[in-house]
């Protein structure tokens, strides 16, 4: 191999650090870059495009090397052993509700996978291999005994896919923003900010600052993706948060923008609080943050979180990477028993250690430590809820529309919200089945709420924002149902069509200078490229394709994969039926609101003639990225390109097998994702997905294109529901009442205490000190000290006055004094001498 593993991590590291370099240069030189900062865009774009090239090179290297080809084929062309599994699955599918054949299914599955999972990384190529990864540390930030905090990397196919996706989309957005942000090149008059004098605010352009934050944003996101441990993820996670804060608040003078930026930041802090709890649970019990096994400075391999939670062998027997509670967590939870053992061996620590080690399996069987695993998973998921705008922390995302549209495109596709889904996917091996169920329900609720709100939104960017929230719900749902590939697949395809949709909407906004769809209409003739690329985006997001075939837009593949997984999950867990029906209904709603948006924008009569007359197609620097992204939105998921297989090769070890619920919900079954390729799952799920999408599409066409039904009439009929949806389910109002008002009340009380009690206390103290000082000054300083010094001075003065008499100025007198003095001295000396001699 001309390229080793290190070359991939080095390439990605360079791709990761380039945006940081661009950020640093722009920060340091600022406006000096060209007359108006225009060079900043060249620099940032060059950095990210180079990053994309490097990511692409590493993808090629990865694809060309052994580990990827070993299982690179699409799951449709599974190994012979796997076909057997599908056959057995086929057999049991008919009687799936009886429950009994499921055990057989599980058994078959395990036996199939055994060959793959016990094979070494260096084994022969016929069997399925472990998803290989490269993990290591670049730099140790701190070493505390056995505990190490490092800057490291964890590179597997998922990392590389994410790198390619992020850098490609960010490159398109960088190009697009050169056109979109050109207003910022010179002094910018913000028409939405009125000064006290009644004039509109005019300020210097911030073109360079925009690119500066974009570079930092890309750097942070790539940092999250390449991170080799949770501590590093957390650092970049927060960096992503602060970048989104900067960019959402780009028009900082607008009150709404600064509020939205604050909201995004604060809501994310709520989620990050949970994340810190999860981090502490992992750190406290496992003593490592690393994902993969890394070589320490002494050359010995240190087990990472993944191999601790899903060990290859457990207690001397093959474990096939099934989820177990790690020893650290067991011993942490069973600390009373551990203390007992230690007390039994007061002098012999080694014996106590070995006894603890021998009893740990028993404690594990007793269920110790499982809740800790669940808490760790839930905690990490909390952070993802905040970042990926899941219910109940989804409120920040629609407000984030206050940022410039390229930022929205970046935030909503490749960076911020993708980070949450990415982390769930990356952390998937550690998530217990109960946690997965929580994730699935969170995603399910989110996708439904957001989809319904999108129906009534009239701001074109808000429609897309809610559609993002909804699609993120789909991803979380898929991951929660055990559909790891489906979730990641949808993350990638969604990134392409959502960035496309946002950039199209930006192009429309750029043309008509309004976000409101009620100001648009009939723009198809004015801006055909934007309209057609947006149509591609809409078709991709609703998952348009020929049912039961492999021909369709990118969303077709990923959304069908999600619904297939939901179908097989619901069929083995009948009590969780909602997890299939809600997303199926959501698919219809998605199709409805997306085409409602497209029809309202591009078809029909212009609603605002003035804006229509001034509308024009965007410049080529903006339309070219649209076309590029439209191609990707259409074709990125085509089986020809093997994206699905590539994601499949990144699947974490041990997560393919069908899993039973843990200690908390033993009846839960997480089905094997590969079981979805049988017709018993694929056909009904595919048909339902197609049917619901078509229903939504036709409904939208009937109302907004053919005009069969007047939307105003519907609005009047369902006035309450309309108001409810227009009010966004009143989440903001609810939070206002539940959290914001009480918080403000408490802060007002506390500030009252501060002002009344603490301030008066401090003021009183200060006053008392002043009084004491005054007294002290009058008595001690002025009387005693001053009196002392003045007294000495006066005495000196008096003595001097007295001595003055002697200085007569008469020379003869002085001679007399000298003579008398000399004689007196002689007399004195003789007297003293006589006494001394006598003595």
């Amino acid at each position: 191999m001309p390229f080793s593993a290190e070359s991939i991590s080095t390439l990605l590291a360079i791709a990761w650090l380039l945006p940081l370099a661009s950020f640093t240069v722009i920060v340091l030189s600022g406006r000096a870059l060209g007359r108006t900062g225009k060079f900043a865009s060249v620099l940032a774009t060059a950095a990210i495009v180079t990053g994309f090239a490097l990511s692409l090179v590493s993808l090629v290297i990865w694809h060309g090397s052994d580990h990827a080809t070993a299982q690179g084929g699409a799951p449709h062309e599974a190994a012979p052993a796997e076909r057997e599994t599908h056959a057995s699955l086929d057999n049991v599918e008919s009687g799936v509700h009886s429950g009994a054949p499921l055990i057989q299914l599980v058994a078959a599955e395990v036996s199939t996978e055994e060959g793959g999972y016990t094979a070494d990384a260096a084994g022969d190529h016929d069997t399925q291999k472990l998803p290989t990864y490269y993990a290591g540390d670049w730099y140790a930030l701190g070493v505390f005994g056995d505990l190490r905090i490092t800057i490291g990397y964890y590179v597997d196919a998922l990392t590389i896919i994410m790198f390619c996706m992020v850098t490609l989309i960010a490159s398109c957005i960088h190009f697009y923003a050169i056109g979109y942000m050109h207003d910022e090149l010179h002094d910018f008059t913000d028409s939405e900010v009125t000064l006290a004098s009644g004039e509109k605010l005019t300020r210097p352009g911030r073109f360079h600052r925009f690119y500066q934050y974009m570079s930092l944003f890309c750097f942070s996101m790539l940092g999250v993706v390449i991170s080799g441990n949770m501590a590093m993820v957390f650092v970049f996670w927060e960096l992503v948060g602060i970048c989104s804060y900067f960019l959402i608040g780009f028009y900082i003078e607008r009150k709404s923008a600064s509020n939205a930026a604050n909201k995004a930041f604060i809501v994310n802090r709520v989620g990050d609080f949970g994340m810190i709890i999860g981090l502490m649970a992992l750190w406290g019990s496992l003593g490592t943050f690393s994902f993969g096994d890394t070589a320490g400075p002494d050359g010995e391999t240190r087990a990472g979180i993944f191999s601790l939670v899903r060990p290859k062998t457990l207690e001397g027997q093959a474990n096939e990477h099934r989820l177990v509670v790690p020893d650290g967590m067991v011993q942490w939870a069973a600390h009373e028993q551990v203390a007992g053992v230690v007390l039994d061996h007061p002098d012999d620590l080694a014996a106590a250690r070995s006894q603890i080690a021998s009893q740990t399996p028993d404690w594990r069987d007793d269920g110790y430590g499982y809740w800790l695993l669940v808490i760790a998973g839930l905690g990490i998921f909390c952070g993802c809820v905040g970042k990926s705008a899941q219910f109940p922390l989804h409120v920040w995302l629609p407000d984030a529309m206050e940022g410039p549209t390229p930022v929205s495109a970046l935030v909503h596709s490749a960076t911020m919200v993708a980070a949450g889904v990415y982390l769930v996917a990356r952390f998937f091996p550690v998530l217990a089945p109960e946690v997965l169920l929580v994730i699935a329900y969170t995603g399910c609720i989110t996708l439904f709420i957001a989809a319904t709100i999108a129906i009534t939104a009239t701001d074109i960017k808000r429609v897309l924002a809610y559609s993002t929230v909804s699609q993120l719900g789909y991803m979380m749902l898929a991951l929660g149902l055990g559909g790891w590939v489906a979730g990641v697949f949808h993350l990638i395809t969604h990134a392409f069509f959502k960035s496309l949709l946002f950039m199209c909407s930006g192009s429309v906004i750029h043309a008509v200078h309004s976000n409101e769809m009620t100001d648009m209409g009939g723009l198809l003739k004015k801006m055909p490229i934007t309209a057609m690329t947006m149509l591609v985006g809409c078709l991709a997001i609703i998952g348009a394709g020929i049912p039961l075939s492999t021909i369709g837009f990118s969303g077709y593949y990923s959304k069908d994969a999600i619904l297939e997984q939901a179908w097989s999950f619901a069929s083995v867990n009948p009590m969780h039926n909602a997890l299939f029906f809600v997303p199926a209904a959501g698919a219809a709603i998605t199709a409805f609101y997306m085409f409602r948006m497209w029809y309202m924008t591009f078809l029909g009569k212009p609603r605002d003639q003035h804006r229509y007359d001034h509308a024009h197609e965007s410049p080529r620097v903006m339309t070219t990225p649209l076309i590029v992204l439209a191609l990707f939105a259409m074709a990125v998921a085509w089986p020809v390109f093997g994206l699905n297989g590539l994601i499949e090769s990144a699947r974490p070890a041990g997560t393919l097998a069908t899993a039973d619920g843990g200690a908390l919900m033993p009846n839960l079954i997480i089905p094997n994702e590969h079981g979805n390729h049988v017709d018993a799952v694929r056909v009904p799920a595919g048909l339902i997905a197609f049917g619901t999408a078509m229903f939504g599409l036709l409904l939208a066409s009937a109302i907004y294109w053919w005009g069969l039904v007047d939307p105003n009439e519907i609005r009047r009929q369902f006035r309450a529901a309309h108001r409810f949806l227009l009010g966004k389910w009143w989440f903001d109002e609810l939070y206002e009442v539940i959290f914001i008002r009480p918080t403000l009340f408490v802060s007002r009380c506390i500030s009252g205490i501060d002002k009344k009690i603490i301030d008066s206390l401090i003021d009183g103290l200060a006053l008392a000190t002043r009084k004491v000082a005054n007294v002290w000054d009058a008595v001690v300083d002025r009387r005693v000290v001053d009196g002392l010094f003045n007294g000495v001075a006066y005495r000196t003065w008096d003595v001097a006055l007295a001595l003055r008499v002697v200085q007569t100025g008469k020379l003869r007198q002085y001679v007399m004094f000298i003579v008398i003095g000399t004689v007196a001295l002689f007399v004195l000396v003789s007297i003293v001498r006589s006494y001394a001699l006598a003595g």
Partner: protein
């Protein structure tokens, strides 16, 4: 009794010392009593030369019992004093002249501007 003792002795250092002391006292009294500046200067000369007699007396080999090798230290010191006295007299006379120019008098009691 001391006088009788001196008169009975051969001439020695003590006799010279007595003469020097008388000259010194005369000079000091002259300085303390004369109002005329030139008189005061003469008193200074007497004082200095009273001291000179002591030097010469102590330094003379004839007067010393035993005596030293060369025995010129006293004379040398006396010569120094004479030179200094000459220089001092020159300066003092210049001052006296200036005093006279300013006050039209050489009454030393009128020069009392430095009184406290």
């Amino acid at each position: 009794m001391i006088l009788a003792h001196l008169l009975n002795e051969p001439v020695g250092v003590s006799h010279y010392l007595v003469v020097g002391a008388i000259m010194f006292v005369c000079g000091a009294v002259c300085m303390a009593t004369k109002r005329n500046t030139l008189g005061v200067l003469m008193g200074i000369e007497l004082v200095l030369n009273g001291a000179n007699i002591n030097f010469v007396a102590f330094g003379s080999p004839y007067l010393q019992r035993g005596g030293s090798a060369l025995g010129l230290e006293g004379q040398l010191m006396a010569l120094f004093v004479i030179v200094l006295a000459a220089a001092e007299a020159a300066v003092a006379l210049a001052i006296a002249l200036n005093f006279y120019n300013n006050y039209n008098s050489i009454d030393i009691d009128r020069g009392d501007q430095l009184q406290g």
